[in-house]
C-alpha cells in the first residue's frame, strides 16, 4: 500500500517537475545550469579524509587508500607503499565501491519462510534470533558427532585464523574451494619439490618464460591476484628482454605480450611437457649435478618399481624404511643416496641377481616414445615447434652458470614456467609433475631466474606425508580422505555431492547433517551446478555468511547472516611481491552498513552460543594459536575479544609500536627485502630445505598397489604412476558430434562470482558469450552475435547438458576449442540476472572429470547448435 502511494507520488511529482521544466525552458528561458547549488554548498562544508585499507575483492589484498567525504567513501585508490600494487588498482579494486553501496546487500539476518530448492522467501530477523537458531541446530550435531557439521569455505581472504579457529573449536569438517582452483598443482609441487604453491618464475632474473595457461592480462596465475606479476613481467621484458611463450588454446591471455603463441589443444599439456623432457634429454640439456644431488633421479629402482633400499638397522624404530640406494660410479657399488660420491643417473646394474636401474634411466626409457612427432599430433601443433621450444628452453637455461645475489653464489637458470590452472584438467596432477620435471631437467627449481614455487623456499608439511600415502580400508568419511579412491585428496565439494548421491558406492556410512557456507557460492561457482542443486537440499540445516544473497543461499539457506564488505577487519595478509616482504591488514573504511557485521565478530558470538568460545580448546585459544598471539599478547581465554584489539595485539607482538595504529597510519608494514637465502632453494640454510626432489614418484606406485589390493576400480588408480604417463582424457570418448572442447577462464573485470552483481564491472566485461574461431563458426553456420545452444556430453554416463549463449568470434582461439568466461550464471542479486549462464552448468564432476587427486577438470566436449 505504502509502495503504491509512494509510486503515485513519484509519478505525480515527476509529471509536475516535467511541466515546470518545459515551462521554464520556454516561458522564462531559464538557462538551466549544471551547478547544483545544494551539492555545491555540501561540497564546501564536506570534510575530506582518507582511510587505509586493502582490497576486499581479489586474492592479494592490494593496498588501498579510501577517500571519504564526511565519512562517505567516494574513491578508492592504490596505496603507493604497498609492494603488490604500488599505488595502482585493477578495475575490480576500483569498482568495489559499487559493492559497498549495493542496495541488494543482505541488510539484516534472514530466516527462510518457504521450502528449499526454489527462490527463497525470507523474513528479517535480529542477530540474536538468527544466531540462536543456528546454535540450536548446530549444538545437537556437535554433541552427536562434530564431523557431521560441514563448514564449507570458498576463495576466502587474508590469513585464515579466525575461520580455522572456528573449525578447530567446533570440530567441524572443513571443505575448501582449492580443488576447483589449483590444488592439483599444489599437490604436484609439494610432491615433486616440497614448497607450497604451484610454479612461477623468478621475474627479476628470468629471460625465457613458458606462460603455460597463465592468463597474464586477466588473472593471477600462481599466488597473486593480478597486478604484481604483470608489473614484474613487463619490467623483465624491458630490462632483461624476457621472452614469453604462451602455451594456451587462446592467445588473448597474453595479448600483445606474447613473443610466441603455441595454441595447444586443451588437456594435452602433459604430452607436450613429456615431449619437451624427451628433447631436453636428446639435446643433453641436463643439469646433472642438480639431478644427482637434489633429486631422486639416481635412486635405483627394482623390477617392482620400488626403490632399492639399505637394510634397516636393528635398533631402528618400527616402520622405518632403509635409505634408498644409488649406484656409486666412484666405487662401482651401491651406496645410500646421501653417501655416494658420484651416483649414476643412467645405466642398468645387476645387484643380487636383479637388474636395477636409476630412476633417471627409467625416465629416459619412459619418455623415449614421447617424441615431438607423437606429441605434435596429440597437442595439435608441429614437431618443429616443440623441438624449437625445447631447444630454446635448454639453451636459455645456461646450465652450469651461477650468479651472485645478496653475496651468495647461486646457480643461474633464467628459464621458468608459469602454470597454475593447468591443474584444472583431468590429468592435472601428473601434467603439473611433468612440467615441473621439465624445469628439473635443466636444474631450474630454486635457481636464480629459475623455477620458484612459493615466495620463500619453505617445505610444506605435505612433502613428508607424501612419502607414505595412507590408503585405508572403508568405511570412509564423507570427504573420502585416506580412501582407496583418492590417496591424495584435495577435498572436492563436487565429490562430496557425488558421495551424497550414492554413499554406498563410496563406502561412506555417515553423511554431513548441517552445513555452514563461508565466502562460498557453489551453485554457480563450482562444477557442476546440477550436482549441488541435487544435494544441498539434503542438509538438515544450511546457514550462509554472505554480503549478498548468493544463489546457494537463495535456494538452500535456512539462515543468512549478512557480512560486511570493506567495512570490517580482516588479516593480517602478506603484502609481499616475492621480493619485498610486508604485512597488511584490512581496516574498515567505515562502520558496517545496515546491520551487517564482520565475520570475526559473528564467529565470536556464535561460538559463545555454542559454548565453545572460552577456555581451553575454545575459539579464543584457537585464535591465539592460529594467528598466532603469544605470551603477554595472547587474548585472555575468559573475556570476549574485541576485533580491533585482536589486531592491535598482533601488531604489538610483531614489534610495531602503536599496534594497529601503525596500519591505520601507514596501511602496510614493509619488513624489507626477501633475502636470496630465503627465496632460492639452492641458497637456503640446508639447500632446498633438505627435500629430495621426486622425479620418480615411488609412493604413488605404492599407493596404486594398495588401491588395487583394496579393489578400487581402474579409474581411481590408473594415474597413480611413478612417472607422469600420458593417456587419452576421458572426454575424448564422447561421440564425434561433440566436436569441440569447452574451456573456461577469468575476465579481468570480474572476480569469480563475487563481483558479478557490481554493475560498474559488468558494464566493462559484458555478458556471457561463446568464444569461437571464425572458421569453426562458418562451418557451423554461425556469425557474430548469433544465439547458440551449447551442449556438453559426459563420456562416462552419457548425460548431456545445455545452456544458451551468444557467439563471439575470435581468431585468437583454436578452431577445435570454444571458451566461456567464468563469472556468469547468477540470478539472485537482480542485476546478476540476464547476463547469461555459467559454464559450470555444462561441466561434469566425478569420475572422468576429476583428477586422481580429487580436483576438478574444467574441460568437456561440447557441440554448438544454432539457438
Amino acid at each position: 500500500m505504502t509502495e503504491i502511494t509512494r509510486r503515485t507520488f513519484v509519478k505525480v511529482s515527476a509529471a509536475a517537475a516535467g511541466t515546470t521544466a518545459v515551462a521554464s525552458k520556454f516561458l522564462f528561458g531559464g538557462l538551466e545550469t549544471v551547478q547544483h547549488t545544494d551539492s555545491l554548498l555540501l561540497a564546501q562544508q564536506l570534510q575530506e579524509d582518507t582511510v587505509n585499507t586493502t582490497c576486499w575483492i581479489g586474492k592479494q589484498d592490494c593496498g588501498i587508500v579510501a577517500t571519504r567525504l564526511d565519512g562517505r567513501v567516494i574513491k578508492l585508490e592504490g596505496l603507493e607503499a604497498h609492494p603488490k600494487n604500488r599505488g595502482t588498482l585493477c578495475p575490480k579494486g576500483t569498482a568495489q565501491i559499487g559493492a559497498v553501496y549495493d542496495p541488494q546487500r543482505v541488510k539484516t539476518p534472514l530466516i527462510r519462510t518457504n521450502a528449499k530448492g526454489q527462490t527463497g522467501e525470507f523474513r528479517a530477523a535480529s542477530w540474536n534470533e538468527a544466531l540462536d537458531l543456528i546454535a540450536a541446530k548446530t549444538k545437537p550435531v556437535l554433541e552427536e558427532n562434530p564431523k557431521l557439521f560441514l563448514w564449507q569455505k570458498g576463495r576466502s581472504k587474508a590469513k585464515a585464523f579466525y575461520d580455522k579457529a572456528f573449525v578447530k573449536a567446533t570440530g567441524a569438517t572443513k571443505l575448501g574451494h582449492g580443488a576447483y582452483c589449483s590444488d592439483a598443482g599444489y599437490r604436484a609441487a609439494e610432491y615433486n619439490l616440497g614448497p607450497k604453491g604451484v610454479i612461477h618464475p623468478d621475474f627479476k632474473e628470468t629471460r625465457y618464460l613458458l606462460s603455460w595457461g597463465w592468463n597474464i592480462t586477466a588473472a593471477g596465475g600462481n599466488k597473486t591476484c593480478w597486478i604484481t606479476w604483470p608489473q614484474q613481467m613487463l619490467d623483465a621484458k624491458e630490462k632483461n628482454g624476457l621472452k614469453i611463450v604462451q602455451i594456451d588454446p587462446r592467445l588473448r591471455p597474453a595479448g600483445p605480450h606474447a613473443d610466441e603463441w603455441l595454441p595447444i589443444k586443451p588437456a594435452t599439456d602433459m604430452a607436450f611437457a613429456l615431449a619437451l623432457c624427451r628433447e631436453l634429454i636428446q639435446l643433453d640439456y641436463l643439469d646433472k649435478p642438480y639431478l644427482k644431488k637434489h633429486t631422486n633421479s639416481p635412486y635405483l629402482v627394482g623390477p617392482d618399481g620400488l626403490f632399492l633400499r639399505a637394510d634397516v638397522p636393528a635398533d631402528a624404530e618400527e616402520g622405518t624404511v632403509g635409505k634408498a640406494l644409488v649406484f656409486d660410479l666412484a666405487t662401482g657399488g651401491t651406496a645410500p643416496f646421501d653417501e655416494a660420491e658420484d651416483p649414476a643417473l643412467t645405466g642398468a646394474y645387476v645387484i643380487d641377481d636383479v637388474t636395477v636401474k636409476p630412476s633417471f634411466q627409467l625416465f629416459i626409457e619412459h619418455v623415449e616414445g614421447y617424441t615431438p612427432e607423437w606429441a605434435a599430433d596429440i597437442c595439435g601443433t608441429t614437431a618443429e615447434r616443440i623441438r624449437h621450444i625445447a631447444e630454446e628452453f635448454g639453451r636459455q637455461a645456461q646450465i652450469g652458470s651461477t650468479k651472485v645475489v645478496d653475496g651468495v653464489e647461486i646457480p643461474y637458470r633464467p628459464v621458468g614456467i608459469m602454470a597454475y590452472h593447468m591443474a584444472q584438467q583431468e590429468l592435472g596432477f601428473q601434467a603439473l609433475r611433468a612440467m615441473i620435471t621439465v624445469a628439473m631437467l635443466v636444474g631450474a627449481p630454486g635457481a636464480v631466474g629459475g623455477q620458484l614455487v612459493d615466495f620463500t623456499w619453505k617445505i610444506s608439511s605435505s612433502y613428508d606425508k607424501y612419502e607414505n600415502l595412507a590408503v585405508n580400508e572403508g568405511p570412509y568419511d564423507y570427504t573420502l580422505g585416506k580412501s582407496k579412491f583418492f590417496p591424495i585428496n584435495s577435498g572436492l565439494p563436487g565429490m562430496l555431492a557425488k558421495v551424497m548421491q550414492d554413499p554406498q558406492k563410496y563406502e561412506v556410512e555417515e553423511l554431513p547433517k548441517i552445513v555452514m557456507l563461508h565466502y562460498v557460492n557453489p551453485i554457480p561457482s563450482f562444477a557442476s551446478t546440477k550436482d549441488f542443486l541435487d544435494t544441498y537440499g539434503m542438509f538438515e540445516f544450511v546457514s550462509v555468511l554472505t554480503p549478498w544473497l548468493s544463489e546457494t543461499a537463495d535456494y538452500f539457506a535456512d539462515v543468512v547472516l549478512p557480512t560486511a564488505t570493506m567495512e570490517k577487519y580482516e588479516g593480517p595478509s602478506s603484502a609481499s611481491d616475492q621480493y619485498i616482504d610486508g604485512k597488511t591488514i584490512r581496516l574498515p573504511v567505515m562502520d558496517p552498513l545496515f546491520e551487517s557485521r564482520g565475520e570475526i565478530e559473528i564467529y565470536i558470538d556464535l561460538c559463545e552460543r555454542l559454548g565453545v568460545l572460552y577456555g581451553e580448546g575454545g575459539y579464543i585459544e584457537q585464535v591465539n594459536k592460529n594467528l598466532p598471539l603469544k605470551d603477554e599478547f595472547a587474548l585472555p581465554l575468559d573475556k570476549k575479544p574485541d576485533v580491533r584489539d585482536i589486531f592491535d595485539r598482533w601488531s604489538r607482538m610483531e614489534g610495531l609500536e602503536g599496534g594497529i595504529e601503525y596500519f591505520e597510519k601507514n596501511g602496510v608494514w614493509i619488513k624489507g627485502p626477501v633475502p636470496a637465502t630465503k627465496r632460492y632453494g639452492y641458497a637456503t640454510e640446508i639447500p632446498f630445505g633438505g627435500a629430495v626432489h621426486r622425479l620418480y614418484g615411488e609412493s604413488l606406485l605404492v599407493a596404486q598397489n594398495k588401491q588395487k589390493e583394496l579393489g578400487a576400480d581402474e579409474v581411481y588408480w590408473r594415474d597413480y604412476t611413478a612417472l607422469p604417463t600420458w593417456r587419452t582424457p576421458t572426454m575424448e570418448a564422447s561421440p564425434s558430434e561433440y566436436d569441440l572442447y569447452l574451456l573456461s577462464y577469468k575476465l579481468i573485470e570480474q572476480k569469480q562470482m563475487r563481483t558479478s552483481m557490481i554493475p560498474l564491472l559488468t558494464e566493462l566485461s559484458g555478458k556471457q558469450r561463446l568464444d569461437i574461431n571464425p572458421e569453426t563458426a562458418a562451418s557451423h553456420g554461425l556469425k557474430e552475435g548469433d544465439d547458440v545452444v551449447v551442449e556438453s556430453h559426459n563420456a562416462v554416463t552419457g548425460e548431456t547438458r545445455q545452456v544458451r549463449t551468444v557467439v563471439a568470434l575470435s581468431s585468437a582461439i583454436r578452431p577445435d576449442t570454444v571458451g566461456m568466461p567464468h563469472h556468469f550464471g547468477g540470478w539472485s542479486p537482480k542485476n546478476n540476472k540476464g547476463l547469461g549462464p555459467s559454464s559450470n552448468e555444462l561441466y561434469y564432476t566425478g569420475e572422468g572429470y576429476v583428477t586422481c587427486t580429487a580436483d576438478q577438470s574444467f574441460h568437456v566436449k561440447v557441440r554448438v547448435l544454432k539457438g
Binding site: A21, G29, G30, E32
Partner: protein, 440 residues
Amino acid sequence: MTADTLPTTDPGSIRRPNEELPQKIGQLSPSWIAFFIAMSVITAVGIYAYLLQINNGLIVTGLRGLGSMAGATWGLYVAYYVYFIGVSFAGITVAALIRIFRIEKLEPVARIGELLTVVSLILGALAIMADLEHPWRAIVNLFQYGRPQSPFFGTFTMVIAGYLFASLVYLYVTSRRDAAILAEHDSRFKGLYRILAAGYTDTREQRRTDRQVTFWLAITILPMLVIAHSTVGFVFGLQTGRPGWFGALQAPGFVVLAGVSGIGNLIMLAAIVRSATRTKGRITLDAFAWLGKLLLGLLITYLYFTAVEILTITYQPGATELNLSEALLEGTYAWIFWGAIVALVAAAALLTWQALTRRWSITVVFATGVLVNIGAVAKRYLIVVPSQTHGQLLPYSTGTYTPNWVEWAIIIGLFALGALMIGAFMKIFPIVPLEETDSP
C-alpha cells in the same frame, strides 16, 4: 465581376470590392475542415512527442552516441533539417528566375514558391530545435556567444536569420498589391489586408519600385541561397574526421539536391493548389513543363555528382571508406541508397521522356516531384547517418540507428504543421497572385 464593370478609384487603380474573395479565401468546405483537423491532430501528436523528449531527454529517441555507444548522434532531425532547408530553395529560385530572366509563365507559382521557402525554413529551424535538448538556451547562447567560425553557426544565422528574413521581405513585397486589392473587399480579413497593404495603392510608381526592389532582392538572395545551401554542405563537408563527409563536392552537391527537392516540392504543391483553388487556368501546363525541365536539369547534374560519388567511394577506398561504401552499396543502407537512386533515375527518365516527346502531363510531372523528394529525403538521411554508424576511424564496432516513433512523430508533426501553415495561408490570402488584369 469583370474588370470593365468596376469603376476606377483615383489615383490608384484598385478595383472595387467584390462579394466573394478570390480563390476560395475564407471559405471552409467540410473537406478543408477535415484537413485542418487532421493536420492539427498530427501536429498535436508531434508536440506530445516533443514534450516527452523535453521531459526525459533525447534518450526517448533512437539517437545515441557515436563511437563506443555505437549509435548515431545526428539522425532524423538533422536529415530533415537539411531536407527542409533544401526545399526552401524552390521559392527563391523561381522568384529569381521570374524577376531576373522574366519568365512570366512561372509568375502564378511564384508565391507558392515563396511560401514554400518561408514554411520550409521555419520547419527546418524547428527540426533543428527538435534536435536540441535546450532550445531556449540555444537561442540565447547563439546570440550571446555565437561563433561565426562554426559552420553550424553559419547555417543558423545565414539560413534561419538572413535567408528567412529576406524571403519574408520578398514574400511581403510581392504580396502587397494583392493585399491592397483584397483590402477593398468587405471581409473578415479586411483589417489584416489593410495592414499588409500598408498604403499600397498600386500606382505605376509603386509598381515600378516594387519591380525594382524585388529584382534586386532576387539578385541578392540568389548568392545568399548558394551560400546558405553551401554552408549546410559545409556542416558536413568540412569534417575531415568523418568519412563520407569531407569533400569538395559536398557543398555543390547540397545546393543541387536542394534545388531538386525544392523544385520537386514546388511542382507537387503547385499541382495541389491548382486543383484546390479555382486557378486551373492560371497555372498552366507550360509552367509545369518549365519546372519539369528545370528539375530535369538539376536532376541530371545531381545524378552526375552521385555517379562521381559512387566512383570515389568504390575506387581504392581506405578501410573505413570501404566499410562505409559497403554499408551504402550492399549493406545496411543499400536499400535506402538504391531506392533513392531508382527514384531519382526514374524521375529523370520520366522527365526526359516528356521533354523529348514534348508531351507534358501534370500527373507525370507531379509524380516526378514525389519521386525526387523520396530520393532527396533518402539522400539526406544517407549523408547524415551512415558516416556515424559505419564511418568510425578508430576500430569501434559498427553502429546502428533506427529512428523511433518519437522522432517520426515529431518529423511528421512538422510536415503537418507545414501543411497547416500553407492551408491557413490559402484560406487567408491568394496563393496564386491575382491576375495582372485585376488591375490596370
